[in-house]
């Protein structure tokens, strides 16, 4: 069996940020990602980031990613395994992987899970036909591969992802006539909503999709108004022609590996679903198994970077390394994280973390 001192599962902003302090102290780090590219969600984010200066706000996600990769790629103590999917995780810290249809195991001493999240779907008739895509999928298709999802897209969900992806669709030359929101308010930032409204997107509140129409792929969407209990109102249906229905209805942490290994998890709605019970060092209920980033609760890239940075330092300390100025850096990072979670948009996270018992 292969041996590794620290295995990091997931090379998004959280995993990349965690690798750096570990490599700095000389730990042997194996960074694993199922994708051919490093960067997780950052690979498709062509927009300027909100968030704080220290986490590269006002730079584009794809440029932040470049900086993060450059910061670690030359370390001789780093092993990168891309196109490698972790398919099993065991409490004795055995990580099983598949690469090129080939199965192998790694015995790790420390494990950090930074696997991110998966996009949720929505129940409606025909929601399984081709042309019904997750918003992040559409963003990946356009911004990573240069392919349009279709010519006319109806977006469902007014969170930041729905708003930003609508804008990016129009940048790629795709029409977005309509954005539907079940609630009576826009859930993302109003600046993003105003921007796409100015470009002609009709944002409709208290409205959702009833069914998709089409045989082998989407040809139209039937939409309807919702009452205050989010039930469809008969008689309000309209059919809108489109070739893509894009769902931006939230993310759920990818905690399957943690659950398989027997780590304690708890369902916390505000954090997106089942999340691992972590302590203030980002260690799960399993000794030397850590979790950070979206997998520990859906937030954003800036917080994923900070939590990754903290988790990396914590693992280095637990492994007995001396981290220069750890006593200054750790409190400062925790302070930055609290700052990010301030204000009305951070409220959900604050409630969620309280429920989890880590705030």
């Amino acid at each position: 069996m292969r041996q590794a001192e620290v295995v990091i599962i997931g090379a998004g902003p959280a995993g990349l940020a965690a690798a750096k302090p570990l490599l700095d102290v000389g730990a042997e780090v194996t960074l694993i990602d199922r994708s051919a590219m490093l960067g997780g969600q950052l690979t498709k984010q062509t927009h300027m980031f909100f968030g704080s200066e220290k986490q590269h706000a006002s730079k584009r996600g794809i440029d932040i990613l470049k900086l993060m990769v450059e910061a670690i790629e030359t370390y001789p103590n780093l092993t990168v395994l891309t196109e490698t999917t972790v398919v099993g995780l065991y409490a004795d810290k055995v990580v099983s992987c598949v690469k090129d249809d080939h199965y192998f195991k790694i015995q790790a001493q420390y494990i950090l899970i930074a696997a991110g999240a998966s996009e949720k779907s929505l129940p409606f008739e025909n929601n399984d036909i081709p042309g019904v895509y997750a918003a992040g999928a559409v963003q990946t298709l356009m911004n990573v591969y240069g392919v349009k999802p279709g010519d006319r897209v109806i977006m469902v969900g007014s969170g930041n992802i729905g708003l930003i992806v609508s804008y990016q669709l129009m940048q790629a030359g795709v029409q977005v006539p309509l954005l539907l929101e079940a609630a009576d308010t826009i859930s993302g930032y109003l600046v993003h909503a105003s921007k796409i409204r100015r470009l002609g997107v009709d944002i409709r509140m208290n409205t959702s999709i009833k069914r998709a129409l089409g045989e082998t792929s989407v040809e139209a969407a039937e939409i309807w108004q919702l009452d205050e209990n989010w039930q469809g109102i008969e008689g309000t249906e309209t059919i809108i022609p489109c070739d893509t229905i894009c769902l931006s209805v939230g993310l759920a942490p990818l905690t399957e590996l943690l659950q398989q290994a027997g780590a304690e998890v708890k369902y916390v709605r505000e954090l997106g679903g089942h999340v691992p019970k972590i302590n203030q060092h980002y260690e799960t209920s399993l000794d030397a198994v850590y979790a950070c980033g979206d997998v520990a609760g859906i937030e954003e890239a800036s917080s994923a970077m900070i939590s990754g940075h903290i988790a990396g330092i914590e693992i280095a300390l637990k492994a007995g390394y001396t981290v220069a100025n750890a006593n200054d850096i750790l409190p400062r990072l925790r302070h930055d994280l609290r700052n990010l979670r301030e204000g009305p948009h951070g409220e959900k996270i604050r409630i969620g973390l309280k429920k989890l018992g880590v705030a």
Binding site: A36, R60, T216
Partner: protein, 100 residues
């Protein structure tokens, strides 16, 4: 369905990659996954579901959901959304769980 003009990204001047889909020669570009190359060709229907044989396309495009499973070089259940397109690869639609 390629993006031809983009204010931030540049997808021009990439190498062509030949492959076959359902036995017919097609091409995509360097940097494509199998699913992105097919989508660019207008192919959205990638497989038929296991029980009701309903058409399936991709859903997440990052390897989470298995909605994009196809038969690649004779191997079924390949997540084509995260499998880079390689020269000469043989791609086929998958029925249900697929067959070797």
């Amino acid at each position: 369905m390629r993006i031809d003009k983009h204010p931030i990204l540049d997808f021009s001047s990439r190498k062509k990659i030949r492959f076959t889909f359902e036995g017919k020669e097609q091409y995509g570009f360097e940097g494509d996954t199998i699913a992105s190359a097919l989508h660019a060709l207008g192919v959205k229907h990638l497989s038929d579901s296991i029980h009701k044989k309903r058409p399936r396309g991709f859903y997440c495009a990052i390897g989470n959901c298995a909605s994009c499973n196809m038969i690649v070089d004779g191997i079924p259940n390949v997540r084509t959304c995260i499998t880079p397109l390689k020269e000469g690869v043989d791609v086929r639609m998958q029925e249900g769980k697929g067959r070797f």
